[in-house]
């Protein structure tokens, strides 16, 4: 849905500059206490400037004031720039929304905005769906590119797990009746617009805590600076207000404060670009904290469809007879599994599929019987889960054949395959082994997750033996076999009771309770409305493997915050060493020895520190927006790496930066 654009492209920068000025509104600025403090100090100096009363030259003071205002502006600019990236997307979504109209069953046409929950609308070929809802009649292929960016159409039909439709998507064939499930103005599209715009953005818990820390540091440094005049008076001198103000502004954590909200917006934005919608920033943070991933076997760990790979005939039955029966039973089975039985029969056993005879009666698969098959010339051939076949043929009971089948079943399961029993006229023939095909590379991904301290649990409807074999092959840490939605929910609760955060994805209505219970519940966009409501994220691509990347994005957001906070705090050492000697040299000339950077003059030192303090903000904007890269190398090495870059770097960088600026400032005779 988005096209990545350069961070500093002119299209984004110009409106961001205008926004940066607009954000100076005190009512908005107060949300960022550190920048607010900076603005107050800058305002105070601006007002005091014409009054004079100090030995400092007006030119020097003016430069300090300008750089202080720039510090504030750089901060509001960073936020505006981060917001601007989303705003372009919001504009196109809003355009889509404004053209929506709805056709009622009685033929009237009304504006989509007037639809209420429960209304029924008719959507025909080439119409845009006017509101979020559920298909109650018909099947249609729908192009959801407006939301997902994916142009291949998807099928939406009444009943089942593919009934949800989204406002703004286009029906490209057939006609459906949709019952509206959204309140006016609170649909998916509205939520997306708000999200990408950042309008609904609230501070996340971690952001609030960090803001408190920054306020605390500001107060501590305010005390440190406000007491200096008293100290100076003891030493028989006084320090100009502008110099004290400069020290305060450089010491308080302006860098991280200026970038904090940009980091948060960019983090959400990264998810949106990744085609995942998080309903709150809190969910993104929680993703970084996840300890346990519940992954559905099918589609995530194995490719969706199992393939028939072996035939196991019961004693007294030839494999060819079994192959023949299996082929017949699968003739009408359109599922990939059914197709693979035909392929197996042909390729391994030389039994080609025949055309479906006209007099054949098809027994379709139902969730209740879990058996499918065919009735042909008096032959009744059944194919289905082993226990279902045994149950459907009570006569088999404890016969030798049934017992042999059970043993065969176990052998198949141990090999990580799923058995299907085949019976003819109540007599067992044998079993088809369906093999799960594990996706390439998942083993490495799970090893990576393990290094990140995340445990993976495979969720499957398979029996425990099959599940164990697949789990071992795929390299997951644990599995939940024969899982029902209740089991899933219970597992999540159990993990949470142990203090762990759980992430999962799901699409069905029966996944909804688990999605709601999980700390990070990613609903598939193809899923039901109930699932999409229950989860705190929606994956527009409906790709369950993305759960792993979502965790990475959450971690990236937290890491970026931590890295820039550490950098900002570490910067203070150099700033002290720039300003303290410059400030006190009039009181005790000997304190010049603290001028370890050898800065040209006291005024140059103070100005250089304040310039560095301002310029570091735009320099770090790209990092804040792109995020610090997360590497799955374990917490220890990761911390060592980041401490070296942002801790040690934060200590050293300003010494170099201030010195260089000082050379420029003194070279240009700015003071």
């Amino acid at each position: 849905m988005t096209t990545p654009s350069s961070i500093f492209s002119a299209k984004l920068v110009a409106p961001a500059m205008a926004d940066a000025v607009r954000k100076l509104d005190p009512r908005e600025l107060i949300r960022n206490p550190v920048l607010f403090t900076t603005a107050v100090v800058a305002l105070l100096l601006t007002v005091l400037l014409p009054m004079g009363g100090t030995d400092l030259s007006a030119g020097f003071q003016l430069q300090l004031i300008v750089w202080m205002w720039l510090t504030v502006l750089f901060g509001t600019f960073a936020e505006a720039l981060a917001e601007g990236r989303g705003r372009a997307q919001a504009a196109s979504l809003r355009a889509t929304k404004s053209e929506l109209t709805a056709k009622l069953p009685d033929g009237r046409t009304v504006a989509a905005s007037r639809l209420q929950r429960g209304d029924v609308v008719v959507v025909e070929t080439n119409d845009l769906i006017p509101a979020d809802g559920e298909v109650i009649e018909g099947v249609a292929s729908v192009n959801e590119a407006a939301i997902t960016g994916e142009s291949a159409p998807v099928i939406r039909e009444a009943g089942g797990d593919r009934s949800a439709v989204t406002a703004g998507t286009r029906v490209i064939s057939d006609s459906i009746k949709v019952r509206v499930t959204q309140e006016p103005g609170k649909g998916f599209l509205d939520r997306m617009i708000a999200l990408v715009e950042g309008a609904e953005r609230q501070k996340t818990p971690n952001e609030i805590a960090l803001t408190i820390l920054l306020v605390g540091l500001t107060i501590i440094f305010l005390i440190a600076v406000a007491t200096i005049p008293g100290f100076a008076s003891y030493a028989g001198g006084s320090i100009p207000v502008a110099v004290l103000a400069a020290l305060l502004i450089t010491l308080i954590p302006t860098t991280i404060a200026a970038l904090l909200s940009a980091i948060g917006i960019a983090g959400m934005d990264r998810l949106v670009r990744f085609n995942v919608l998080a309903k709150s920033g809190r969910a993104v943070e929680a993703a970084g904290d996840v300890d346990v991933l519940l992954l559905d076997k099918t589609g995530t760990i194995t490719i969706g469809d199992r393939q028939a790979s072996e035939l196991h005939a019961i004693s007294g039955v030839t494999t060819d007879a079994l192959a023949q029966a299996a082929m017949l039973a699968s003739l009408a089975d359109e599922t990939p599994e059914g197709r693979s039985v035909l392929v197996l029969a042909r390729e391994k056993h030389g039994i080609a599929a025949q055309a479906l005879p006209a007099d054949a009666e098809i027994v379709p698969f139902t969730a209740q019987t879990r058996i499918s098959g065919i009735k042909l010339n008096g032959r009744i051939i059944q194919k289905g889960a082993v226990d279902a076949i045994l149950r459907a043929n009570p006569g088999l009971g404890e016969t030798a054949a049934a017992n042999e089948l059970r043993r065969t079943t176990e052998t198949i399961a141990r090999a990580g395959m799923t058995p299907l029993a085949v019976a003819e006229n109540g007599k067992l023939l044998g079993a088809i082994a369906l093999k799960d095909v594990i996706k390439a590379g998942v083993r490495d991904r799970f090893a990576e997750l393990r290094r990140m301290g995340i445990r993976t649990v495979m969720i499957t409807g398979d029996n425990p033996l099959t599940a164990a074999a697949i789990a071992a092959e795929a390299g997951v840490d644990d599995f939940l076999a024969e899982a029902t939605p209740e089991d899933k929910l219970a597992l999540i609760r159990k993990e949470q009771a142990g203090g762990r955060l759980v992430a999962m994805c799901g699409d069905g209505t029966n996944d909804a309770p688990a999605l709601a219970q999980a700390d990070v519940g990613v609903a598939m966009n193809t899923g039901t409305q109930a699932a999409r409501e229950a989860g705190n994220m929606v994956d527009l691509d409906s790709d369950p493997t993305k759960l792993i990347e979502i965790v990475g994005l959450g971690k990236q957001l937290l890491m970026t915050r931590g890295a820039l906070t550490t950098f900002s705090v570490a910067n203070d050492v150099a700033k002290y060493f720039a300003i303290i000697p410059a400030m006190f040299i009039v009181l005790y000339p000997g304190l010049g020895v603290l001028n370890v950077m050898g800065l040209a003059s006291p005024n140059s030192a103070i100005l250089s520190a304040i310039i560095f303090n301002a310029l570091i903000i735009p320099c770090l904007v790209p990092l804040a927006l792109k995020g610090v890269r997360f590497r799955a190398i374990g917490a220890g090495p990761l911390l060592a790496r980041n401490l070296a870059i942002y801790g040690l770097g934060g200590l050293v960088a300003p010494f170099v930066g201030i010195k260089l600026i000082d050379i420029a400032v003194s070279g240009l005779n700015l003071v």
Partner: protein, 567 residues
Amino acid sequence: MTVQGWVLILLFTAIIIALAKPMGLWLFALYEGRSTPLHAVLGPVERGFYRLAGIDPQAEQSWRTYAVHMLLFQLVTLLFTYAILRLQGVLPMNPRDLPGIGPDGAMNTAISFTTNTNWQWYSGEAAMSNLSQMLGLTIHNFLSAATGIAIAFALFRGFARRQVSGLGNFWADITRVTLYLLLPLCIVYAVFLIASGVPQTFASMVDATTIEGVKQSIVVGPVASQEAIKMLGTNGGGFFNANSAHPFENPTALTNLVQMLSIFSIGVGLTWCFGKAVGNTRQGWAILAAMMILFLAGVGILYWQEAAGTPMMHGLGFAGGNMEGKEVRFGLAASALFAVITTAASCGAVNAMHDSFTALGGMIPLFNIQLGEIVVGGVGAGIYGFLLFALLAVFVAGLMVGRTPEYVGKKIEAKEVKLAVLAIAVLPLCILGFTALSSVLPQGLAGPLNKGPHGFTEILYAYSSATGNNGSAFAGITSGTPYYNALLAISMWIGRFFIIVPVLAIAGSLAAKKYTPETAGSFPTTGPLWIGLLVAIILIVGGLTFLPGLALGPIADHIAMINGQLF
């Protein structure tokens, strides 16, 4: 610097590290409320106290109840001591017929001893009767130490417990700590001191005839009993004005070593106890390692500065180190070591005069106090103060592993950050605020004996010492005035309880949280990286705030000294 000097320093460090686990084990038993070998004898006494006071030691208290009971207890015992000091003149055990203490002085001293500070504006032998010393002051040496340890226990429980509101029982904690730890140790310790020559008597004076044939009256009294708890409980208030420099308080090289060890012993034990309480003793060792790095750095600088001496003294023909204000019998290394220990812990006992150190040498004790006395620190206060910085360090850097910050299984969130910052901000507020005030007001300027940056250091040191609940002084200052008595008393009160209450609130908040199990993705809070990070955060957040003050005080003093100017 000499080899012997460094041998002493390293020997001390080795012994104190070796003491951490045995002391920690004993403390852990008390923390858990488990039985110790002493319970056979003292158990009935403990239960007797509970029955007498109508206390159920099993009754869990929420952080608020714990805090309220603790504060009420402090208030009552404070008023008790205030009354004794005011009424000293009419009370018994006053062999030298000393008059009652004035209101500002009595309040200052009562607060000073209640807050484990032991700031002494007075000279003990000249102002305090034996009753005041033993009942008014020594009682607080025990109770303030026990209170500090109790608060540390409550905080440990906050980390260790899961989804509960109870932090233990304040009365049970102070009773157990006093009965099974402080009293038995002090009895043994006092007997050792008596054997080493420290007086323990109700007599008041002994008359001696000096070599010159002059008769001199020397004050004696119940010194040994006060001395033991003064060190062990990091109180520091001496019987004599000269404190541990006085031969009757600290007669031999061995008592000097034991006194130094006893200042740190409970503090290092608490680091181990913390690790044990949170289920991983390496957590405790990591904290102790960070403390020891800061400690040895301090000792190194101080010893180096004192051994280098001053160019002015060298010019006068006095070669070698700066011996002014030091006992010849202890020498440079033992004096430097003692000074660092007593200020790293919030003890405040001295065996040399900090005011007479070289400028940079004198800066080390000052800086130690300003960091919040978290390098081993006062009993209880050291570890809970240190843990505040640990929370801050976890919060600043912990995000860098891509998870919400956690420390020993508890998530650190807005509430903890708010309270930790509040507690940490108390130090600069009182120290810098009152120093600035006293640098301007005539009442404040009347205090320091010396002029220039040295005089400024004296003021800064006084407020640092009071706020940090240390109690040692840059002795040049005359602080017994109503102005200083009042402001220093306020500093001591704020420095103690405006940290303790947030600490208890943090403990309450942590105890209510779920436990987050450690994984490969958790922020590692053991190992060299964490230790280095702790040291850096302590120096940057805790230390840098004081750089302007230090620049105008000891650093300016030092530079002036190099340039041949003294104050």
